[in-house]
Symmetry: C2
Subunit: 511 residues, 2 copies
């Protein structure tokens, strides 16, 4: 077992931080609560962006960019919205610095009206939409923004909850409530499909209770994932905003009957938090485990030798192996580009930023194995002198630790793509099985309390009621994660109030 | 001539703003000096990012993300750096808002140490590098960041100079001065190649004079482009920082001889300013003109008809034409995805976000022509009933207004790609010719003053001297744009001081 990583069974929060540190995904920064996303971690975000952005465009959305700073008066306009965000805003009050006699800088030139660094952009985008939208011909307006946002919360945890984080926020405007509602649900589906296909992360789709919805929304939908410690993670949300922001920002259009009406708007987002969810869905006591589709390093070729003579022979063979999978041209380009480097990166797909690495470092093979294992690289290709003689290699699979004896003759791009597909699917099935095995059904409040102690999703009849939820939260620290879309159509008695209800909900402890 | 666009000859600054407005590239926002980049303008930035990022990765760089906020004390550490940026910083002084009795929000929870919104990230990145770099094995460290930055300047102009802008900033650390210098020059070459190949924008590569270099740099290199009004635009910079930031932030490594030494660092960046340069290189009195490689809409298919019967026939043919170029599958997908829309977008290349549009709007063809013309779409496909009968179409080329009678049988993906290449090259040659025709050589200060009045690059012998530069700037408002790498090897007499010099420099009025 890795010495630099705590066991999950001993200390899950420490394990989480250790995995991030060992894989060099992120660091705390000198700025309170803000993280630095290191290159190997940022490659995960780039992969997420690439795949999600493709899905947004395929559903007719376009990207735009709105100002980082929001006038404080904008926040005041939507009553629930301001309550939700005012307490945790970074406030810009001055527009320059001046050097004092002691050599230190102090704030100068106070602004007439302060700004906040955007915690979310409904208000500033709403103010622009009110200018851009005149008629039904301007609708639907389907815009997304990739951006940084800030919410200065007290307790932070890398990726899961940081003062600044990266996200995308979709903001759309529509002619009718039905259209906006359809959009809200469509984007939740996009998130769920993405989580399943790209992150190999099973999620439950549902509606948030009134107490848990977005400040200013009529309805919030979410995808909820289950982490290995039995806690739920909200992985993405999609909000039907009704006409709340349209009224606050005067977003009106001339409809087909020449009547001036307020638009119906939506917003939806996922953030760097997904990387936290990814880690806690797949990783193990040895460190990070990545599904192939998101991995920037798909495989590490590790040469094993004991003499200079063996070394030459093994290295030449490693190049042949990499050439079989990536093509000889890419291998030659890589050795040219990275001359003098100890680890050579050969692209398998430039546009997806995916590559194989050839690990030329001096040192023991076991240390190199350990290095790539902790970084969650899906495949390791081990090549020793006997493999060269037999024209074979050993393929080690990270997620199930399996070992396969392969022939060089079978290794090519399609063969490797097929191995990647197999592992992607197997990782999803494993995570789904975990989720299913950790979802229980209870029929009383006592049973709910017992079940919550064990962790996992707990399903039960519940009649939505803010007071009941608050009470349950106080007593158990758990909340309604969502009211799943999938319902039986039957009715039952609420486990807390005994009232009749059509809905079973999911309770869980949560991040 | 377009009524909503001022003539360049009458009012160039107004023309510039009119072009941006007519093409819906960007808007001023309610936040002083900050712009909103509208979807059609943001697509240009996305294209720039896609192509540049590929070039960065191909030269061995990786992306990362560092905090938006920088502690004020960090700025104090590098003396020249703080002088360069302190006057225009957005200062964050509080971490929450509170609602007063009058219902208004005011800043609460003053921070012990204020932060600035990053104007550039040498300091915060330097502080992280000092933790990450231990030994020569950690070098070179080749990192880039895509981010927003703020510099609150008084006079703003869309894309060219805005309080917040988007950019990339590369930050690298090296073992030796030579290596860092090589990196600095390599990245300037990447920028110049990108400007030529992707933006069809010719640039001059050179060194900045001492007075014009980056605050904290040893040497600044830049690419300079010439706009249609004869003013120069600095389009990208690459800085050799020596050990200045390594000393200020204690970035040290154990070298190959086990000695602890300071690193040598570089930084380099381009920003959304490039879009301003793109506009002022190619656009004309009719509006925006885009080179094909950066255009998100490569072509607009405009059906022309006078009766319902003609309409059916022409629209069916337009679909055939789009299918010939994009493939039938993509056309069908587009009509399915964008059902009910008046303009249908068919991808020619999903990964490059490039498409053809089919303009199904009711209304006069001339208005549709005008619409796509103002948006700089490189090609327009005009299809009327007679074209259908003759199995042909008219291809209008935006940049030279030429008109070509084509046959449906010849139209396919490769044919269209070839048209795009032709136009890309022709636009570059046109811009290069403009630059060459507006570069003059002078041999006295009097001649320099005369030449500057006409605009363009003015080349002359000049012995670098801060005092002389200041004097010339005062008298002419022009500065040394760069000391070009290309020099004859001869010597001459400085036009201002008469001293002998090996260098000819480029003077120009500048943005």
């Amino acid at each position: 077992m890795a010495k630099n990583i705590a066991a999950r069974s001993k200390d899950y929060p420490q394990w989480y931080l250790d995995v991030i540190k060992a894989a060099e995904l992120a660091d705390y920064s000198p700025v309170r609560g803000c993280m630095v996303i290191r290159p190997y971690g940022y490659a995960l975000w780039e992969a997420i962006q690439r795949d999600l952005d493709r899905r947004f465009k395929a559903t007719g959305h376009v990207n735009a960019y709105f100002p980082l700073l929001i006038p404080v008066s904008f926040l005041e306009r939507e009553a629930e919205h301001v309550e939700g965000f005012a307490m945790e805003c970074a406030v810009v009050t001055h527009s320059s610095l001046k050097k004092g006699e002691d050599g230190h800088l102090t704030a100068q030139s106070e602004l007439a009206e302060p700004f906040v660094v955007r915690p979310t952009s409904e208000t500033i985008i709403g103010s622009m939409y009110s200018q851009w939208i005149q008629s039904y011909r301007d609708l639907p307006l389907l815009v997304n923004q990739w951006a940084n946002v800030m919410r200065w919360e007290m307790r932070t945890r890398l990726f899961l909850r940081t003062a600044e984080f990266l996200w995308q926020e979709g903001h759309t405007a529509h002619e009718t409530a039905e259209e906006a509602e359809t959009e809200t649900r469509r984007m939740l589906d996009v998130y769920a499909d993405f989580a399943r296909d790209f992150l190999a992360m099973p999620v439950v789709k549902g509606r948030k209770s009134e107490s848990e919805k977005f400040p200013g929304a009529v309805t919030t939908y979410a995808i909820e994932a289950l982490m290995q410690d039995g806690k739920a993670l909200q992985a993405g949300t999609s909000h039907f905003l009704g006409q709340n922001f349209a009224k606050a920002f005067d977003i009106k259009f001339l409809d087909r009957d020449n009547q001036l009406r307020h638009c119906w708007t939506t917003s939806w987002g996922v953030s760097t938090r997904l990387i936290g969810g990814l880690i806690m869905t797949h990783s193990d006591d040895e460190g990070l485990v990545l599904p192939p589709r998101i991995a920037s390093v798909l495989g590490a070729v590790v040469p094993i030798y004991r003499s200079e003579e063996e070394k030459d022979k093994v290295l030449a063979y490693c190049k042949r192996l990499a050439s079989a999978i990536c093509g000889e041209k890419r291998v030659n380009e890589a050795f040219e580009r990275e001359k003098g480097r100890e680890i050579i990166s050969v692209f398998t797909d430039e546009s997806a930023n995916q590559k194989l690495v050839i690990d030329l470092r001096e040192g023991r093979a076991v240390e190199k194995h350990f290095h790539w294992e902790q970084r969650g690289v899906p495949f390791r290709f081990e090549v020793g002198p006997r493999d060269v003689d037999g024209e074979g290699f050993v393929l080690k699979v990270r997620h199930d630790n399996s070992k396969h004896f392969c022939k060089l003759a079978e290794a090519n791009a399609e063969w490797f793509a097929e191995r990647c597909r197999e592992v992607q699917e197997a990782m999803y099935q494993k995570a789904l099985k975990y989720q299913e095995e950790h979802t229980v059904e209870v029929s009383s409040y006592e049973e709910l309390k017992e079940a919550l102690k064990k962790g996992g999703f707990v399903r039960c009849w519940f009649k939505e009621d803010a007071e009941a939820e608050a009470k349950i939260k106080e007593e158990t620290k758990a909340v309604v994660r969502c009211i799943p879309f999938e319902q039986s159509g039957e009715t039952g008695k609420c486990i807390f109030t005994g009232r009749e209800t059509k809905e079973k909900v999911l309770f869980a402890m949560a991040y």
